[in-house]
Amino acid sequence: MTVASPFETWATIVTVAATAVAGDVLTAGAMRKIGDLDEIRAHSGLAGAIKAVVGSPMFLLGVLSMAASFFSLLFTLSNVDVSLAAPASASLTFLGNAVAAKLFLKENVDRRRWLAALFVCAGVFLLSK
């Protein structure tokens, strides 16, 4: 079914992964800023926890990026075979997240976590075979 050129194919796949990474990093950053949800729930109940999350602009931006990723995946699937698009974008998202978490969230991505990102990336790709 693939009708797109290799450039179009990879540009759309990279767009799906990049927006997914932006969504994950923004929501993770928002949750780090908001603080431990278990504690917030203990203090101000479930409604208080929901209010804290939904009231965060960073979280809303993250959800917007996730929505953008979802729609760009739909667009990609209409031009590229699902057997390439789905695993390739999922694998790229795992690798991109490790890089972005180190750069933007200043997470300590040690050798153990790099290996995990690479193994999961390869594993997700193989699962679709």
Binding site: A101, F119, G123
Partner: protein
Amino acid sequence: MKHTLTPQRYLILLAVMLTASVGDTLLSHGMTQVGPVSLAHLGLLLAAMKNPWVVAGILCLLGFFASYLTALSWADLTFVLPATAFGYVVVALLSKFWLHEAVSVYRWAGILLIVCGVGFVANGPSLTEHPQPAGKEA
């Protein structure tokens, strides 16, 4: 301080793994009953909301998002993400032992790689400690 998780938090991570895969499976089962949706028949999506499998799938995915956000509030993104990938393994095992689908050598290799990846991360600390800025020590 090395961050380790309480049993309750491992349950949240377990919920992250299971709700995503079970939710996707329920949705896919429901949507095969609803039939193909095209851009010209978007109204069918509303009809899909009446399918109990689809509704159960959406509830599961809401549960996934809630537990995923909770996990991110006390653990690193690079700690939680491999756990979400473990959901793929659950789907593959469910399809093998419950639906009796054939699982190829490639998929077994993929399962093995993901399990190893999750194992690497699970053995380490769950949260990066950032030194407190000067004057802010508790």
